[in-house]
Symmetry: C2
Subunit: 319 residues, 2 copies
DNA sequence: TTTGATCTGGCAACCGTTTGCAAGGGAGGA
DNA sequence: TCCTCCCTTGCAAACGGTTGCCAGATCAAA
């Protein structure tokens, strides 16, 4: 159907290798010949078959980007940043969603392995062991996970959590609920770690939870019952679900309970009350991850990006 | 590095073709031989190279899914549905985002062409002519666009717009602002068409606009100034931006202006006031599009899915 | 035992492209 | 005029698989 390198070669009476070189090693072919080839190629609408090329070169100029849940508004800005960055390097990004299911994640990685030069693993749910094993077949860069010897882009969650807790403490909150995320989440562990070592706080842990609005909605009653005057939520979706649940119980935010989220996603900015949250550098992370993958070729560089507290309307003085 | 079909063949003393057949044509090989092959393959961690396989078979078992903007919460549910459906058919979906840029869209399609068996084009921004031309190289299914002879999944926007306008008319609104989307948007045209032929309405058109919160924010002042008592927005993001802009001007929604959106995305459900909107069947559309692509192989079936009006808090009686 | 049908597995060509090697030709130096 | 050397191009193998064809083996029926 579509024109191949042979068609082009035949059309201008040269060998296929000359056509090939006209594209990938122009200095090896006579300028006059080359322009004839290019003209013929253009005429026939020829475009090199990247998959076939990859077979011999070993480079696909594709990279995979695996996220737990595209529907979580935290990811799209990261994805877009990664795609834009990759495009600038003549790479294309294939995005896939695992539905928060480690088995799907593994299967996806295995499938992708041969079709990409590397994979960006965002907030993976697989075990470190499994990730290390899979890394033998294809280079990884992990985002929001620390794995020994593997290039990683981390967001300074500990810093953000500390900022948030200080903010709450400054408003007079002592008894604080910590609504964590799914099992295997590095972010969740970081948050809990910082909280646990902050002195003078009376913490109540809730988890694991789905990292979604539904997850927040589901724990709202428990949180309300535990007597906390403030909540630190795993992410903004959870925080929004929580606020939704609380207001359904006629519990005002921030009048009766203050809520802080993580991520700084769009719905949080539009919500009433507008959500106080720890902003995660998703765009920078997407860009960084691509650069790391393309540069390092697997060396274990780790980049940590700063987070920032954005105070809006969902936090107030403790009663 | 990774094991190839040759390694497996050598490991159990058979020819590569026997290994190949053990996977892709089991009935042609002796069960005993086959289990030896499978054991050796498992042992070596062999997985067929899909790209290489595609070279001879012409089938990649991949499909592309191109959207204008992943960050628009309308798309993720559609993407997830498509991925899930495809997974069930042993297909994988590569998602890519065009940043609302037709040139990026074209480039992306060209790149994808050889690496996938077909492409799902969601709300494309390319011209019909260009899409028809590209369709010569790879089968398409378009979502939310009608192109002669090309399989399509449409959402009944006209129906939804009519529902919304009737709702507003029933609340006593006569002067209604229509805030449209980007140029080339089929959805936008459908909306305008229905509105224009609805009698007894005093319509003011605003457009084209970016299909985002920023787009809504940008026209808020004009909409406020035009004297309309109600607005039909291109999508929920625009509606939310509009509400944001209006409330910054101390104009209450729905007290002074009613707002209806399109899509029914999460932020709209969480927003205060909760957004009245026309729900689009994104999940069904994602599933349908995959089925159409896999069945038809390019025949021009068209599926139209119903929409529904969801009345929440952003619409009220006209003053 | 012969015949023929049915299985099974090897051989080799092919998919579209790249790339090391070598051959041909022209130019420049001796 | 002859010899190098470089530039340009063709040849063929390779990448990792699939598949049509053929030959040998097996087995049941005659």
């Amino acid at each position: 159907m579509a024109a191949t390198i042979k068609d082009v070669a035949r059309a201008c009476g040269v060998h296929v290798s000359t056509v090939s070189r006209s594209f990938s090693a122009p200095h090896l072919v006579n300028p006059a010949t080359r322009s004839r080839v290019l003209a013929a190629a253009d005429d026939l609408g020829y475009r090199p078959n990247r998959a076939a090329r990859a077979l011999t070169t070993g480079r696909t100029y594709n990279m995979g980007l695996i996220v737990a849940d595209i529907a979580n508004p935290f990811f799209p800005p990261l994805i877009k940043a990664a795609q834009a960055q990759a495009r600038g390097r003549d790479y294309h990004v294939f995005v896939a969603d695992t539905d928060e299911d480690p088995r799907v994640e593994e299967e996806l990685i295995r499938t992708l392995t041969k079709q990409v030069d590397g994979v960006l693993l965002c907030s993976p749910r697989l075990s470190n062991r499994m990730i290390e094993r899979l890394a033998e077949d294809v280079p990884f860069v992990v985002v929001n996970r620390r794995i020994k010897g593997m290039p990683a882009v981390l967001m300074n969650v500990a810093q953000g959590a500390k900022l948030a807790l200080d903010h709450l403490a400054g408003l007079g909150h002592r008894r604080i609920a910590l609504v964590s995320g799914p099992i295997g989440s590095w972010t969740s562990n970081e948050m809990q770690g910082v909280a646990a070592e902050t002195p003078g706080l009376d913490l109540i842990f809730f988890g694991p939870n789905q990292p979604t609005e539904a997850g927040g909605l589901a724990v709202a009653a428990d949180v309300a019952a535990c007597g906390a005057t403030a909540v630190l939520a795993y992410n903004d979706l959870v925080a929004l679900g929580l606020i939704e649940g609380l207001s359904a119980m006629e519990i005002g935010v921030p009048d009766q309970i203050s809520v802080v989220g993580f991520d700084d996603i769009l719905p949080g900015r539009l919500n009433r009350p507008k959500l106080t949250t720890v902003a995660m550098p998703a765009v920078a992370a997407g860009r960084m991850a691509v650069d790391l993958l393309l540069q390092s070729g697997g060396e274990g560089a780790t980049v940590t990006l700063d987070t920032a507290l954005i105070v809006r309307e969902s936090t107030g003085r403790a009663r």
